[in-house]
């Protein structure tokens, strides 16, 4: 692995996105628009908006980076560029870390915009500081990116890849505790949700947007997010083959 190649890869991915201003606009505008929509849907229930909207600021980057990365990596696989890269002196870790840095930068930008709007304009509270939501958002985005890289190996077409979003992300959103307290779910689902990384991502965000002590549980959440990211990256690296059939 070499810092030169890692950074060149990150720069290349960012160059590709820069060529696509509409994608950048969508990345920045859609989360803000959805959050604003939510604000007025819950017009009569400001408590509900705070309970769902505030953690959502840190979950948008997870969802969107998962989707964007799975498509970007699928393109890399189908266009032959991955085959070329694998025949060059580039370590798999260079490619994965390059993607991580590029999408981490985008996620930071996205989190910055959505947090500015949410916490300054829409009246959400961040009792422990909005910076904490922003940091968690970037961590979640890198987790989403790692999962996206991994699942891209199981899609042959972009039609398939976009459907991994509802298949892999929606169940985690339903089970993470955002909409319903996990203790009120069927016992089996509670157990199942304990095995899903987004549960911990949400838990950290929920604690960061609630008044009261953060406690050690947030540290555990962060450890799970980092661990799940590393596992997904390792699995993703295994799907990058130097030789193919």
């Amino acid at each position: 692995m070499s810092p030169r190649i890692t950074l060149a890869t990150a720069r290349r991915v960012l160059w590709q996105i820069r060529r696509d201003p509409r994608t950048i606009a969508l990345l920045l505008v859609v989360p803000v628009a959805l959050l604003t929509l939510m604000r007025y849907v819950f017009d009569g229930q400001p408590g509900t908006f705070q309970a769902i909207g505030a953690p959502m600021c840190g979950l948008f980057p997870f969802i969107i980076m998962f989707l964007v990365t799975s498509i970007a990596m699928l393109r890399e696989r189908t266009s032959g560029t991955l085959e070329r890269l694998m025949s060059l002196p580039l370590a798999k870790a260079d490619l994965l870390a390059g993607y991580g840095i590029a999408f981490g930068v985008l996620a930071a930008l996205q989190a910055l915009v959505v947090c500015l709007v949410g916490f300054l304009l829409l009246g959400l509270h961040a009792p422990h500081g909005a910076w904490l939501i922003g940091l968690l958002a970037v961590g979640n985005a890198v987790l989403g990116m790692a999962l996206g890289l991994f699942v891209s190996a199981f899609a042959r077409t972009e039609f398939q890849a976009v459907q991994f979003m509802p298949a892999i992300i929606f169940p985690q959103l339903l089970l993470c505790g955002l909409f319903v307290d996990r203790h009120e779910m069927a016992g089996v689902l509670y157990g199942f949700s304990s095995a899903l990384p987004l549960t911990y991502a949400y838990d950290a965000l929920a604690r960061a947007t609630h008044p009261g002590a953060l406690g050690g549980r947030v540290a555990l959440d962060v450890a799970v997010i980092v661990g799940a990211t590393l596992i997904a990256l390792t699995l993703g690296a295994l799907t990058l083959r130097r030789r193919t059939a």
Partner: protein, 238 residues
């Protein structure tokens, strides 16, 4: 006596459940331009993939520049042009080359040289997605040339190019060989065969013939290499 750049023994490859290469043997001398010719679907690309080391092989030995094909040391020494242009369509020519140059650790000057070689000088700002098919494959070729590799494996590099540029590129290939590089170039266009020092004629996963264009003409009594190839096929199936 030139040393052997590629040595293949009893190579077997199965792709998609179908045996593509069945016990193939061949040697390619260094510093030569070797043409790999045969009808589409005969296994040319699979053989090239095996030489570059990106193909899973079932059996056999593929030795490249004294190393096992695909070994880490070779990634800097072998340049590979895939049949479909493998460059980023959403980047400009210059951005593509700068990325691959960073991987190979070569400088701006080399980028300028390869852009000149493939006839795209002055167009570095243009986005690859807006180029024609032939231009895209030239960007891809420029990328393969970047690292000044000892072995260049080029899968149909001249497809879709106009005759002038095609002749220029063959000139470049010979210059590279004179400078010591080994080139393995596939084509299904027989009129390019006469450009090669050595010919490998493939059909249905097997090597039919390895000879120079002159030897092929003598052996078959045909001046036209395309007809000579048909004659060889006729002899083989008799």
């Amino acid at each position: 006596m030139p040393y052997t750049a590629i040595k293949i023994e009893d190579l077997h490859v199965v792709r998609g459940g179908r045996p593509v290469l069945q016990g193939l043997n061949l040697q390619v001398a260094s510093g030569s331009v070797t043409g790999l010719l045969g009808p589409s679907g005969c296994g040319k690309s699979t053989l090239m993939r095996a030489i570059v080391g990106v193909q899973i092989i079932q059996a056999g030995q593929v030795n490249v520049l004294g190393e096992h094909a695909g070994s880490t040391k070779l990634r800097r020494r072998v340049g590979y042009l895939t049949q479909a242009p493998s460059v980023y369509a959403d980047l400009s020519i210059g951005e593509n080359l700068r990325y691959f140059a960073a991987i190979l650790d070569v400088g701006e000057q080399r980028i300028g040289e390869v852009v000149q070689t493939v006839g795209l000088a002055g167009r570095e700002q243009q986005v690859v997605g807006s180029l024609s098919g032939g231009e895209r494959s030239r960007v891809s070729l420029a990328t393969a040339l970047l690292g000044d590799p000892e072995l260049l494996v080029l899968d149909e590099p001249t497809v879709g190019l106009d005759p002038v540029l095609r002749a220029e590129l063959w000139g470049t290939f010979h210059e590279l060989a004179q400078a010591g590089s080994t080139l393995l170039i596939s084509s299904h266009v027989m009129d390019e065969a006469s450009e090669c020092d050595e010919l490998l004629l493939m059909r249905e996963g097997a090597l039919l013939e390895q000879s120079t264009p002159e030897q092929l003409r003598e052996r078959t009594g045909e001046q036209d290499l395309s007809r000579a190839f048909l004659a060889i096929i006729g002899q083989a199936s008799r």
